[in-house]
């Protein structure tokens, strides 16, 4: 019995000794990709070098565990800083009153002029609730050597060219597109781009805000165009069985030629394959519609219940500075939101940057722009559609029920 008591006492003392001191800055993050981890550790090390009196405690979670933990620690013993995403994902917590208004940081650092592309995504009702550290373009990562093998010399810029290219690849016995839909979200990239290219950004934004029915003819049009690809065997078989990462070997093995994805994929190409990989933006479908792109934005936020908000604001200012943005985004293979920062000299970052620079507008991403519950049902629908395009009316009906439940009948 005595041993139990001593053990309990010992643990209680150990627990007490870890209680935070005045200049501790606690940061909880979901940035557990190898590159993300490195970027955060470097940023924190630089911050601690600049402010030696502050000790940053960095608690890393994997994304799924973070989603559970976040909802717990935000309302209880909140950290001083967290990583999260701009757009609707942020708005959910802002609406619950859990994220701190950091408009003062935006004003004092003049971020409105330094980060024009991400003001909208960081704002709810004109106030800013986070400071972005990186954003990135989506596009097709493709293998040059496989394209050449199929006799394709130029990357497609129109829909007709894109379909033609697919036919050529199929003729050469190469699956045009690899996709793993087990995680659902890779399907949403396709839907976003098709809808943006066919119906434009205003329509897409209204759809994301629940102001348009999913059974609308214009939404159906998107799936008709998508179906052209499904019918033409554009996608690898059995894609619901693969996570996005597990679908990548098809490309590395030379069985599939491209992947609609984001820069975090680049580090997963083995060296010999990476030499062959290039990037092109999603082709134009309707000339009369402007170029709109998905550019998800990752940012830092301060929980309302944080204890050390002053030092957290110091960190936000530090992370927003051009030179630190250059470094962080560079390590991540992503783009710095600060226009005075420089984009990494690499073909993917530069290509994405050029595309976003000429874009008429940017969206976040399907599951960041719309309500999370609707996003889940929507993406399940997209996955089913890719397997059974003939069921599209039922699928849209089902998504519409969920939309009506969340946003009300129209």
């Amino acid at each position: 019995m005595k041993t139990i008591k001593t053990l309990l006492c010992a643990t209680a003392i150990a627990a007490l000794s870890t209680t935070a001191f005045a200049r501790d800055l606690v940061m909880n993050a979901n940035t557990s990709d190898p590159a993300q981890k490195e970027a955060m550790e470097n940023l924190i090390a630089d911050f601690e070098a600049a402010y030696p009196e502050i000790d940053v405690k960095f608690n890393l979670y994997d994304h799924e565990a973070f989603k559970v933990a976040l909802r717990n620690f935000l309302v209880s013993d909140a950290p001083d800083l967290i990583t999260w995403n701009a757009g609707n994902r942020m708005k959910v917590f802002v609406d619950l009153g859990l994220f701190e208004d950091v408009s003062d940081v935006w004003a004092s650092e003049n971020l409105y002029e330094q980060m024009p592309a991400v003001v909208g995504a960081s704002s709810v009702d004109g106030k800013q609730y986070g400071v972005p550290y990186a954003y990135y373009a989506w596009g097709f990562y493709y293998r040059k050597d496989l394209f050449e093998q199929a006799g394709i010399t130029e990357t497609p810029s129109t829909w007709e060219e894109f379909k033609e290219m697919g036919a050529q690849l199929n003729a050469a016995d190469i699956t045009p597109v690899t996709i793993g839909t087990k995680n659902l979200w890779p399907t949403a990239g396709w839907f976003d781009f098709l809808n943006l290219r066919v119906n434009g950004a205003d329509f897409h934004a209204d759809l994301m805000d629940g102001k348009i029915k999913y059974t609308d003819e214009r939404v159906k049009k998107v799936f008709e165009i998508w179906e052209e690809l499904v019918e033409a065997d554009f996608f690898v078989e059995n894609h619901p069985a693969y996570s996005f990462q597990e679908a990548l070997p098809f490309m590395n093995q030379g069985k599939a030629a491209m992947y609609l994805l984001a820069p975090f994929i680049v580090s997963m190409f083995p060296d010999d394959v990476r030499e062959q990989v290039e990037w092109f933006p999603f082709p134009i479908i309707d000339e009369s519609v402007g170029i709109y792109e998905d550019a998800p934005t990752d940012s830092f936020h301060i929980p309302v219940n944080a204890k050390n908000k002053d030092d957290a604001r110091l960190f936000l200012k530090f992370a927003a500075a051009a030179e630190n943005q250059t470094k962080t985004a560079g390590t991540l293979d992503m783009l710095p939101p600060n226009i005075n920062a420089s984009v990494k000299d690499d073909r993917f970052a530069q290509g994405g940057f050029a595309q976003l620079s000429k874009a008429d507008g940017i969206m976040q991403f399907y599951d960041r722009d719309t309500d999370p519950a609707l996003a889940k049902v929507g993406m399940q629908g997209f996955q089913e559609f890719l397997q059974h395009p003939d069921r599209i009316d039922d699928i849209l009906e089902r998504i519409e029920v969920e939309r009506a439940r969340i946003y009300g009948a129209l």
């Binding site: 994997d62 013993d77 950290p79 996005f244």
Partner: protein, 283 residues
């Protein structure tokens, strides 16, 4: 009698058995084989989709080295021990007392109390997430080892009491009666008569509880935030990326995390199997 020794059955049956056994064994062990094979693979192979073939290079040492250098896995292991060991002692201590009480004394409502302990096992503990978190906050022990230990003890005691009560009820009651007639105090009966007899049960429970608590992911996730307090189950997830996972490192880390329960099992194997069947036979 069942099962009949295989030697007594016909030749063809014996042959079928000899063919089917290794096959089912391999299928049964496939997940384990996959983890071991992945732990010895380079990320290069995984990116190429070489999951089952011969690895292009054996990377066991690299992967394990990388796990130790890229994450504070020794601290996570130590934290797991700090959480698991007191939890087991706490749960065994309480459940031995409760089990003896329920088995040895004929008082009113004892069946109801026993039923309550059993019923507790049927409550999905996830639904307690928010109240438990709130309770630890109010007690001021949120984000400490103590929070996790207390709740592991609380939740495991129900099952342990069920187990211990049945085991103690199975002992010959005459032992207790004769001790009582000698004038031995109840406390001494427990310590000198009951405890030595229930040792196998305690050992079996200790092994079982060790695996339960060691492998638990949920309560540490809810009750612990600080990296330096995390047990191995939580620590391992940091090897899993938001988008990209190094499956080879994850597999290597999982093997390291799985070793202590396996060693514990082998150390106590004899008691474990004896204890399991003994406790289960009396309802």
């Amino acid at each position: 009698m069942f099962p009949r020794p295989i030697q007594e059955s016909s030749k063809s049956r014996q042959l079928m058995y000899k063919v089917a056994l290794p096959i089912s064994l391999v299928i049964w062990l496939l997940p384990m084989i996959a983890i071991v094979a992945t732990a010895g693979r380079s990320l290069h192979d995984i990116n190429y989709g070489n999951y089952w073939g011969i690895p292009s290079e054996w990377a066991f040492l690299d992967n394990f080295g990388e796990v130790f250098s890229s994450s504070p896995i020794l601290i996570y292991l130590l934290n797991s021990v700090i959480i698991t060991v007191p939890s087991i002692f706490g749960a065994l201590f309480l459940s031995t007392l409760a089990g003896a009480g329920l088995a040895l004394y004929k008082f009113k409502g004892r069946f109801v109390i026993f039923a309550l302990f059993i019923a507790g096992n049927f409550v999905p503990f996830q639904i307690l997430m928010i109240p438990v978190r709130q309770l630890t906050l109010d007690l001021g022990i949120y984000d400490t080892y103590l929070a996790v230990i207390l709740f592991q003890v609380a939740f495991q005691t129900g099952f342990c009491t069920f187990f211990m009560r049945n085991f103690i009820a199975d002992l010959p009651f005459e032992l207790v009666e004769s001790a009582r007639s000698e004038g031995v105090s109840e406390w001494k009966i427990l310590i000198h008569v009951i405890i030595p007899l229930v040792r196998p049960a305690l050992a079996a429970l200790a092994v079982l509880q060790f695996t339960f608590i060691w492998n638990d992911f949920f309560w540490p996730l809810i009750l612990i935030q600080s990296d330096e307090l995390r047990p191995i189950t939580l620590g391992l997830t940091t090897l899993k990326g938001q988008y990209i996972s190094s499956f080879n490192l994850l597999a290597a880390g999982s093997l390291i995390a799985a070793l202590p329960p396996v060693m514990m099992f082998f150390a106590m194997q004899r008691h474990f199997i004896a204890g399991l069947t003994l406790g289960a036979s009396k309802g």
